[in-house]
């Protein structure tokens, strides 16, 4: 029966409740367990910065990464429990608090386990070694005469006798042990000790399912305290005022227009304009009512129908060229019997987080305490310190779970907005957007065009490939809020911009000679644009691999081959070959050349495959679609996925996180396109920026996690975003013969291409 489990899970997640009266978001279990933070100055080369032992022998892992509610926390504590030979239930995690965790870059690039987990694992192994040395000295034996059982160290030869627990050895005190640190902060931080980590064959906890997430019970029982629940005494509610035309700035404000609403204060600094009120509803009404005169700017955007022509014609700010691989692609084209070319287009997409972002800041008395739902609290600290010219040690940033975050969404902007408003009014301020702030004004994933060409010899063999990406930067202003110009507030306050020009090219192991280039064009509006771009889940990945993997399907047809056989013929990496083979086997792939157009009742059915690599992770996706012949609606009935991310820490959580990633990416492939006219973004809510509905959820998702325990873990969080849209497009082609080269795959596009 689930009852005792309920209570235990509930209590495990409920530490925040007891402490919330002091400071929202303060390290939950750590404080509940009575640990005060007296560690040795939070140095990156100190063991105590990562692992500490409570008096009751329970363990705390401290990490500067954050779990964006996908279960990464459970992965961390399992890795710690494994090395320390203690039950996972006795390990808790403190994350993303700038005063209590080392700067490890926050949530970034699916490196939570890949980098963050490895640091904790190495630290835990070192802690175990140090504890064994302490016990050995205590008992006058050598380490190899000791065993550890559930955090209790005993002497092998003395079954009924000498025992000492971790808590008795060091509980409540802190390790004073130096680690080897690579002198890097952020994602790149690496630490290791003298201890040898366990080999996968020794694992009892890692690689097994069954440890449940601790954030779920409070969410299900309605007691979870999240970012949007932060309340401080005397806190005011803020709202930002955005212009009707992108790029317009305030030139006059009529404060009398809100004089009927009590306690409204307008904050206008340079081009930044917002307001505060004691009550949230008053702030909302005032933001709607406030009369602002905006500067006259000429329409800054092309019409939406012209966006891809704009990209094609745009001046390249920077070209990145991939090194020539597998020989000389240009020579291959010179000697080709045929050249096959196709071009693919992907629209701007919105993070459109479940709720618009919320940030809370208290900027009084020369100090800053800031609550953020953003993924990178340490960068947030840097940005706030720089914006207000404060030393970093006067800025404290606490991460709290916000309304979902899959990249650099609007959280970083809301946090800085709150800080500016709080500084201006001298009170704590909570800023929360309205829906349009989250959809119209959040930073976007970039629109892009990809042109792919292949050289084919007289025998029908592909001998060269040229791939060109061109579009807006995948992050115009960096992936975090570590400097003011990376936020809306900083841009509106005139901070010098430091744009970053980067888009990207496919990651794969095809063996033909290839040349890949990526050109980035300038933003449509330089500052504070509603079409400014930022990292969104697998930045650039879905768009680039939609193009490259759709193209591989087209090439298979052009060379008279089955799409799976084509990939197996040309892929060179054995792990890549294995995921493609596995997915094909699991899906019952029926080899075929070209579109089968199989009609079953009112729907055409089809299968499509795509594969891609991200970091160390490789994924093959097979989509099975139904396309209604009358409505042209696409439904992905089933996905079959083969996923290789090396060692899997928590298979159950990996599968569930992959399912959600698959649904989110299906939404991007089938439905999502930011709409705009020449003046403004016109996607402002869920009607104008539709996402996947429950009726669109697949019937089944069949995931195979490849068994690779001896390969270091790479990420789970983004690899599947890459091949999925192309797998769907390829399945649509098999079902209908319509080759979609522009996303999203709406009924309108299918109807337009219907043959």
């Amino acid at each position: 029966m689930t009852m005792p489990m309920n209570r235990r899970e509930f209590l495990a997640g409920a530490g925040a409740l007891t402490i919330a009266v002091l400071l929202p978001g303060v390290t939950r279990e750590a404080y509940a367990a009575g640990v005060q933070d007296s560690r040795l100055g939070l140095k990156p080369d100190q063991l105590s910065s990562y692992i500490s032992i409570n008096q009751d022998g329970s363990v705390i892992g401290w990490t500067g990464k954050v779990d964006m509610s996908q279960g990464t926390e459970i992965g961390w504590l399992k890795m710690i429990a494994e090395e320390l030979d203690i039950a996972p239930e006795r390990v808790s995690i403190v994350q993303g608090h700038t005063e209590q965790t080392v700067d490890q870059g926050g949530a970034s690039g699916s490196t939570g386990i890949w980098f963050g987990g490895i640091a904790l694992r190495n630290a835990a192994a070192e802690a175990r070694l140090v504890l064994l040395e302490m016990a050995a000295a205590k008992f006058g034996v050598s380490i190899d005469q000791l065993t550890v059982n559930h955090g209790v160290i005993g002497v092998n030869s003395d079954a009924g006798g000498k025992k000492v627990s971790y808590g008795e050895l060091i509980g409540g005190k802190h390790f004073d042990v130096q680690l080897v640190w690579n002198k890097e902060y952020g994602n790149e931080l690496k630490v290791e000790g003298r201890a040898k980590v366990k080999s996968p064959s020794q694992y009892k906890i890692v690689g097994k399912s069954g440890v449940r997430r601790r954030d779920i019970a409070p969410k299900v029982f309605g007691t979870a305290e999240n970012m949007n629940d932060v309340k401080l005494p005397g806190m005011l509610h803020g709202r930002m005022i955005r212009p009707p035309v992108a790029g317009a700035v305030p030139v006059a404000v009529d404060e009398s227009s809100v004089k009927n609403i009590p306690g409204v204060k307008v904050v206008w600094q340079k081009d930044f304009i917002g307001l505060v009120a004691a009550k949230q509803w008053d702030a909302i009404r005032a933001a709607r009512q406030l009369k602002v005169t905006w500067s006259d700017v000429k329409p800054p955007f092309p019409e939406q129908k012209d966006i891809y022509n704009h990209i094609r014609a745009g001046k390249s700010m920077k070209r990145d060229e991939d090194v020539k691989a597998n020989g000389d692609a240009e020579a291959a084209f010179a000697g080709a019997a045929h050249v096959f070319e196709a071009s693919y287009e992907w629209p701007f997409q919105s993070h459109a987080s479940m709720a618009p972002a919320c940030g809370v800041a208290d900027m009084r008395d020369g100090e800053a305490t800031v609550w953020t739902g953003g993924q990178k609290p340490h960068f947030c600290r840097e940005g706030i310190a720089k914006m207000f010219n404060m030393p970093q040690d006067k800025v404290k940033v606490l991460f709290m779970t916000g309304p979902g975050s899959y990249g650099r969404n609007d959280s970083g902007d809301a946090t800085m907005d709150a800080a500016v408003l709080s500084k201006a009014v001298g009170k704590p301020v909570r800023v929360q957007g309205m829906r349009h702030d989250g959809t119209q004004w959040d930073p976007k994933a970039p629109a892009s065009v990809h042109v792919s060409r292949a050289a084919i010899d007289k025998d029908g063999k592909v001998i060269g490939w040229n791939f060109e990406s061109k579009g807006f930067s995948r992050r115009e202003f960096h992936r975090d809020e570590g400097s003011p110009e990376r936020t809306m507030a900083g841009q509106l306050m005139g901070w010098p911009l430091k744009p970053i020009w980067i888009l990207g090219v496919p990651a794969e192991s095809y063996s033909f000679a290839k040349r890949k280039t990526s050109d980035t064009i300038a933003p449509l509006v330089e500052r504070a644009s509603p079409l400014r771009t930022s990292h969104m889940r697998d930045p650039g990945g879905p768009q680039i691999h939609f193009a490259s993997e759709s193209f591989m399907d087209e090439l298979a047809l052009a060379t008279n081959m089955d799409a799976v056989d084509f990939r197996l013929k040309y892929l060179s990496n054995p792990r890549d070959i294995a995921v493609v083979k596995t997915a094909a086997e699991k899906a019952g792939w029926q080899p075929h050349v070209g579109a089968r157009k199989q009609l079953r009742g009112d729907v055409y059915v089809g299968q499509g495959i795509a594969y891609a690599v991200r970091g160390g992770t490789r994924v093959a996706v097979i989509a099975e679609v139904e396309v209604n012949k009358n409505t042209h609606r696409v439904w992905v009935k089933r996905y079959v996925v083969a996923h290789d991310c090396g060692l899997v820490i928590a298979p159950d959580l990996a599968r569930q996180a992959l399912e959600a990633q698959i649904l989110q990416t299906t939404s991007r492939a089938l439905f999502e396109e930011v709409k705009f006219n020449n003046k403004a973004v016109t996607s402002v809510d869920w009607q104008t920026y539709p996402i996947l509905d429950m009726k669109d959820a697949p019937e089944a998702i069949d995931i195979t996690l490849m068994d690779r325990p001896d390969i270091a873990p790479s990420g789970v969080g983004e690899g599947t975003c890459r091949p999925l849209p192309a797998a769907v497009a390829n399945a649509i082609f098999d079902a209908t013969g319509v080759r979609l080269r522009q996303a999203p795959f709406t009924p309108e596009r299918l109807k337009a291409g219907w043959v």
Binding site: N6, K219, N226, W281, M694
Partner: protein
Amino acid sequence: MAKHIDLNVNGKTRAVEAEPDMPLLYALRDNLEMKEPRFGCGLAQCGACTVLLNGVPTRSCVTPVGSVGAKKITTIAGIGTVDKPHKIQAAFLEEQVPQCGFCLNGWMLTSVALLDNNPRPSDAQIRDALSGLKCRCGTHMSILRAVKRAAQA
């Protein structure tokens, strides 16, 4: 003008001082400091603010607080407790449904109403009843499993 309004929330009478046209959501979150109903869109498009009004799933973000009267307001904290969970809570916990969890009110309370009216819904009926709600994290498969589990409980 702010008025004294009595609300029946999770079985208790709670008094708020509010303008009658203010949405119920703000009375619950700001006046009564409740955390479960959430702001998602303010436009009745997503379900994050859902409460039950006399058992009917209702978007509190567009429901004027002055229109509620004596109707019984139930939030996800009001359908069950840790010791006596509602079968929907037990199933959502068992299936480990949420990621960020901001959307849960809509899914859980709509499912409560669905199972009250149709204790053994088909897959298509579940999808139909839950259509229109939003989950940006993409936990739809877990939600479907949880509702089916609750229907079999």
